[in-house]
């Protein structure tokens, strides 16, 4: 391995501390005994215990989890369908438009997505609440699932589907028993991605929420405006942990898939 030069090492350290120092400070202060956020008073987990007593935060957490779970699940289904359409149906009319449109939410500012959804809900006279946040989250996380599924399908051997059909399997069963099991890891990692995206979204949720449907990020944000409390640090730490787990798991699944494929290909090359 190449030796790190001093310059490289320093820039690496700087870069990482730039990225992670704030989070580390947040995590450390969530274990602070003292009530004052900026004064260290020794280690303690009392703010975590306090959290369990805070009904407002618990409600918000519950809303967030519900929204994240439902929106990730729906996005996984719709995103899979979209990803398959994009990689399968070749050059149908309007394919470029379709693929461009599906990726748009990835680059569109959250504020605009939120605002446009809000306008739509108002125009349709839909009562805003958990349902509207969920719909909004489906809208923007769908494309991430589609991308993950599509990239998996690009290395998918279509002839295994044909082989199943050839052996008398109906198209629907072929999808269920052949295609889906093979691409399932991609769907799962897409789901995890959608889940974490929904967990930490503040902007879109703020636009599309109604009374009684406050998500955790919204709750944190509103509390912080009244002053940072160690309790908020604790809840943020939990959120960071959840998101990190989701992202790590998703990339682990993807990595394992890629490794497996590589091993298979190597083996096939050797055997032939």
């Amino acid at each position: 391995m190449k030796q790190f030069s001093r310059f490289n090492l320093i820039s690496l350290l700087l870069g990482f501390s730039f990225l992670y120092l704030p989070i580390i400070i947040l995590i450390i202060f969530s274990f602070n005994e003292s009530k004052l956020v900026t004064v260290w008073g020794g280690w303690s987990t009392k703010w975590y215990a306090e959290l369990l007593q805070n009904q407002g935060i618990k409600d918000a957490a519950w809303v967030t989890l519900k929204v994240a779970f439902i929106s990730a699940s729906v996005a996984a289904v719709l995103g899979t369908i979209a990803g398959m359409t994009l990689s399968r149906f070749g050059r149908f009319r309007g394919r470029t438009l379709f693929s461009g449109m599906i990726y748009a939410p990835m680059v569109m500012p959250d504020v605009i997505i939120g605002l446009s959804l809000l306008l739509m809900f108002v125009a349709l006279a839909v009562d805003r609440g958990i349902a509207t946040i969920t719909i909004a989250h489906i809208t923007f996380s769908l494309c991430y699932v589609a991308v993950v599924v599509q990239s998996r399908l690009s290395s998918f051997d279509d002839s295994i589907e044909e082989a199943a059909l050839d052996l008398g399997c109906t198209p629907a069963k072929t999808f269920l028993f052949i295609t889906l099991p093979v691409i399932f890891p991609a769907v799962i990692s897409g789901w995890l991605l959608a889940f974490t995206l929904s967990l930490d979204d503040l902007v879109i949720a703020s636009f599309t929420s109604g009374p009684g449907s406050t998500t955790l990020p919204m709750k944190i944000y509103s509390q912080v405006r009244l002053g940072v409390t160690p309790e908020i640090n604790a809840v943020s730490t939990i959120l960071v942990g959840l998101v990190a787990c989701g992202v790590l798991l998703a990339s682990y699944i993807n990595r394992r898939q890629a490794k497996q494929r590589q091993a298979d290909e190597q083996m096939a090359a050797q055997a032939d």
Partner: protein
């Protein structure tokens, strides 16, 4: 075919073809993959498709299996137009060139998949899968996943999977390519046995012309999306229709010349390699001076140091190279004008001293009936 010497249904006008491919054209965009192809295949045939890469063999099989629709023309299976029957409803099974094994299923599950779709009882599936595993000699790999197998083993799984339903028509796309010689011959033999036992009609794509010769009742030679010639293996070898066929099936020496009327035997041809006109027993109905070719198989060329008597077809040359092939030797002879000819001679005597050796001046000769005269 070893036992079916009398099996010539295509010569019998009363026989109804099992598969009728009627003027089928297949286009991918502007590209014509199959070009107005017609072919009849009879029940119990073992039909081999040969042809250079990209000539449309796989495309033809895929149309029979139902994965591609003919752009024009139609395909009849047992008298019924199947052009619009989806693949899962056709009583046809196909073995894919890429094997197409289900990566998430064990070898057992892969092989049994077809029977499971037909709701065959589990106990029976188990038994038939075991039989199949034995046939392809994969018993000890039953619980492995495809990625844990070698190329040859995967190929056998694919073969077993396509055989297990005992379809009326089995399409095999290069089924034995990855097997070693011994296993390949064994499997060829098994395939022929299966075909006789079960009455399956086989259509096999292969790159190995020797294989096509051994197993098939007829061979269809394809080029550019159409059939150049359909004939039994021996007809194809002995009476090729064109230079393309002659060169594709086995080795051949081609002499280009001009038609010079019917001579003493049937026709004469003048060519620049020979001082005297070449004689053949074949008859042709073409104009004087038409360009024709004499195709002579290497084993039909006699090679000798003395000028041979009794044949008008003699060429002089010099031995350039000798290839020792065990039971036979291949002599590469250069004619005075530089043209290379190949002659094969069986090594009948067990002698290490060759009577003919490098740089020897030799005569190549053949009987008037041994060459095929081609006009194309």
């Amino acid at each position: 075919m070893h036992e079916n010497k009398e099996f010539y249904p295509w010569l019998d006008a009363k026989q109804k073809p099992y598969i009728q491919i009627e003027r089928v054209t297949k286009k991918f965009g502007d590209f014509v993959a199959i070009d107005n192809l017609s072919l009849d295949i009879y029940r119990n045939e073992f039909f081999a498709l040969l042809g250079p890469s990209g000539c449309g063999k796989t495309t033809l099989l895929r149309m029979l299996a139902g994965f591609e629709k003919p752009t024009e023309g139609r395909i009849l299976l047992d008298g019924e137009d199947v052009s619009s029957v989806p693949p899962h409803q056709r009583l046809v099974n196909m073995m894919f060139q890429s094997y197409a094994l289900f990566p998430h299923m064990t070898v057992e599950k892969n092989i049994g998949f077809g029977l499971k779709q037909d709701k065959v009882p589990a106990a029976q599936i188990k038994k038939r899968v075991d039989d199949m595993l034995e046939l392809v000699q994969l018993g000890q790999f039953a619980r492995r996943k495809p990625h844990q197998l070698s190329g040859g083993q995967r190929q056998r799984v694919a073969l077993a999977r396509s055989l297990i339903k005992q379809p009326k028509l089995l399409l095999l796309d290069e089924p034995l390519g990855a097997l070693d010689k011994k296993l390949r011959e064994q499997t060829q033999f098994e395939l022929m046995n299966l075909q006789e036992e079960l009455g399956i009609t086989f259509m096999i794509v292969t790159h190995d012309q020797e294989e096509a010769m051994t197993v098939s009742s007829r061979i269809g030679l394809m080029i550019n999306g159409d059939l150049e010639q359909v004939a039994t293996p021996s007809e194809l070898y002995e009476t090729p229709k064109s230079r393309f066929v002659a060169e594709f099936i086995g080795d051949v020496n081609l002499l280009e010349g001009r038609y010079d009327g019917s001579g003493e035997f049937g026709l004469t041809m003048v060519c620049k390699e020979s001082d005297s006109a070449i004689q053949s027993t074949q008859r042709l109905d073409v104009a004087h001076g038409t360009t024709i070719w004499a195709a002579i198989r290497p084993e039909k060329l006699e090679i000798s140091k003395q000028r041979p008597e009794g044949t008008p077809n003699v060429l002089k040359g010099k031995v350039w190279d000798i290839g020792y092939g065990g039971s036979f030797s291949t002599y590469h002879v250069h004619l005075p004008n530089g043209k290379a000819m190949t002659a094969v001679r069986a090594n009948r005597e067990r002698s290490l001293e060759k009577s003919i050796t490098w740089e020897d001046d030799v005569y190549l000769s053949w009987a008037p009936k041994s060459a095929v005269i081609l006009t194309d």
